[in-house]
């Protein structure tokens, strides 16, 4: 059996005394996209923060291509190959666009076409136009592109995208969708957290639905399509076509 890109087993996470994740398990295969769905407050961001090491898990194990990353500090986890596009984008507002990208550059380049400044500028020509502008002055959509570019600069083996379409105009959401598709086509393994389940289901291979800190469903996109009740029950909203 080929090694999974990312394996999460028995993950329990807490904020202080408040228990938020109750034994979450799932695995992401190499070069696949896993959509992580769930209501507001279901624990999606908590899950992402645990994987990144920003919220070290109290119990459970997280493995990246077989190597344990849980318990390590975020900078080490980043260097081992996990890239984060956080909810709310969190670009560095007082740095220029270019600086936002170069501070995240890492030397590891195992892929055939490693990401670098030029390739990010090719992917997002607007970033090239605005390279010397302060990132804080970019529009929401541009900040999202920058946050994705910044995460790619570390040439991650697994990319975590936490609600990349949140608060963006429909046209920009489409662009985000196309970008995710393109990364997938290049073989990037991705965990995509989304409220916009339509966007997520278009690119994903696998779907995990969280409900109040537990995995309520884990299966293929086809399973979800065949069973639309899953979405209405667990997400509370129906995103029709």
């Amino acid at each position: 059996m080929a090694t999974d890109a990312l394996t999460i087993s028995g993950l329990h996470a807490y904020y202080g005394d408040s228990h938020v994740l109750y034994g979450v398990d799932f695995a992401l295969k190499p070069s696949r996209v896993l959509a992580l769905l769930g209501r507001n407050g279901a624990g999606k961001t908590t899950c992402i923060s645990s994987i990144m090491g920003l919220l070290p898990p109290r119990k459970g194990e997280i493995k990246l291509f077989g190597k344990t990353v849980s318990g390590l500090p975020p900078e080490t986890i980043s260097r081992m190959g996990i890239g984060l596009v956080p909810q709310g984008r969190r670009i560095f507002p007082t740095l220029s666009v270019r600086e936002n990208l170069i501070v995240a550059a890492q030397r590891q380049s195992e892929g055939e076409k490693p990401w670098n400044l030029d390739r990010i500028y090719d992917l997002f020509p607007r970033m090239s136009e605005r390279r010397n502008q302060l990132a804080g002055s970019l529009s929401g959509g541009e900040q999202q592109m920058l946050a994705i570019g910044r995460a790619l600069m570390s040439n991650p083996k697994v990319l975590l995208l936490d609600e990349p379409s949140e608060g963006l105009a429909p046209l920009i959401v489409q662009e985000v969708g196309r970008t995710v598709q393109r990364l997938k086509d290049e073989g990037q393994a991705i965990i995509l957290v989304e409220q916009n389940s339509q966007l997520a289901l278009e690119v994903a291979d696998q779907v995990v639905i969280l409900n109040t800190g537990e995995v309520a469903f884990d299966g293929t996109v086809e399973d979800v399509r065949a069973n639309p009740d899953l979405i209405t029950q667990n997400l509370g909203v129906f995103h029709g076509h």
């Binding site: 920003l54 500090p73 975020p74 900078e75 980043s78 560095f92 007082t94 740095l95 600069m153």
Partner: protein, 319 residues
């Protein structure tokens, strides 16, 4: 409202004092030589304060740590410099500055790595430890170097004043100002034009996110702490020919640096620069012209800033 009344009173007080100071300044202009010397004293003090405040501000901006050993590191630097120059005949002040800066930077590195690091989740504990360390360093200096001030000789080339238009300009003080400006430019370039500087600013913007993109924040902390400590130590030597090394130098300098940082804005290099020269002037002219009100004049700008602009003149973080 009460707070707006307080503000009005403070503003009135400020106007009166600034008026008094301005009047005294103009009155003193009749003696141009006095004005020249005091102006250069102000600039030199401003330069030294900048070197102290820049490191303090940088450390606070990145690590959210008010490093109260900063004054003690300045004093320690002055003593080490004086000691080097006394022990090795013919060593220039500049070499002593470099040597002392490196030694104090190493001490700062040890302090950060092995003491402050252990308390990284406890910011009150960190502040108390830095205060305690400053007492320990001060006592150690007293034991090693005794209670009498140790003079630091002025470099021979800079002893004679420059004569221009019939007035004498104290050369060493001019050199201090020039060096402070050079240091300010170098620090600016380091912070604004290098990848390392961008990483430091990223850490100031969003520490957790900086770590998540792989910036080695822990190494950055040590580097910035050592840089700040080293500059403070070197500044102690640079100030030596003006102030000499004496017990209590730390307690004289630290409050001034704190006022500078609050005035200019925590974490802002430009703010530290402007604030240093404002305080350099206010302190020098205040003590020379209105000695009875020296402390009022010194603390008033800080109180005004806290009342009207808590983030400081150029800062983003509220003090």
């Amino acid at each position: 409202m009460q707070s707006s009344q307080t503000r009005t009173v403070l503003a009135l007080l400020a106007v009166v004092l600034v008026g008094a100071l301005g009047f005294s300044y103009i009155a003193s202009i009749r003696s141009a030589q006095f004005a020249i010397v005091q102006t250069l004293n102000s600039l030199a003090l401003g330069g030294l304060l900048f070197l102290l405040a820049a490191g303090f501000s940088l450390i606070f901006g990145l690590m959210r740590l008010a490093n109260l050993t900063h004054g003690a590191l300045f004093m320690l630097g002055a003593y080490i410099g004086a000691n080097i120059m006394r022990s090795y005949e013919g060593v220039s002040l500049w070499v002593a500055m470099l040597g002392s800066g490196i030694l104090v930077a190493l001490m700062g590195g040890v302090l950060e790595r092995f003491v402050l690091r252990k308390l990284s989740s406890n910011s009150l504990g960190q502040v108390l430890v830095t205060l305690g360390m400053s007492f320990i360093i001060a006592d150690a200096c007293l034991i090693i170097w005794g209670g009498d001030p140790i003079p630091v000789p002025t470099p021979p080339d800079l002893r004679a004043p420059i004569r221009l238009f019939g007035y004498a300009f104290p050369t060493y003080r001019l050199a201090v100002v020039v060096l402070a400006i050079v240091a300010a430019v170098a620090l600016y370039l380091l912070l604004e034009r290098t990848r390392l500087g961008a990483m430091i600013r990223a850490g100031v913007d969003d520490m957790a996110m900086a770590r998540a993109v792989g910036i080695p924040v822990s190494k950055l902390f040590t580097a910035v702490f050592m840089l700040g400590a080293g500059i403070a130590g070197a500044a102690g030597v640079l100030g030596g020919p003006i102030m000499s090394a004496y017990p209590g130098l730390d307690a004289d300098m630290l409050p001034l640096a704190l006022i500078v940082v609050i005035l200019g804005g925590v974490g802002s290099l430009f703010g530290a620069f402007v604030g240093s020269f404002i305080i350099g002037f206010v302190y020098t002219f205040g003590t020379a012209l209105l000695p009875d009100l020296a402390y009022v004049i010194l603390f008033l700008p800080m109180i005004l800033v806290i009342a009207f602009r808590p983030q400081g003149l150029f800062g983003r973080i509220a003090a």
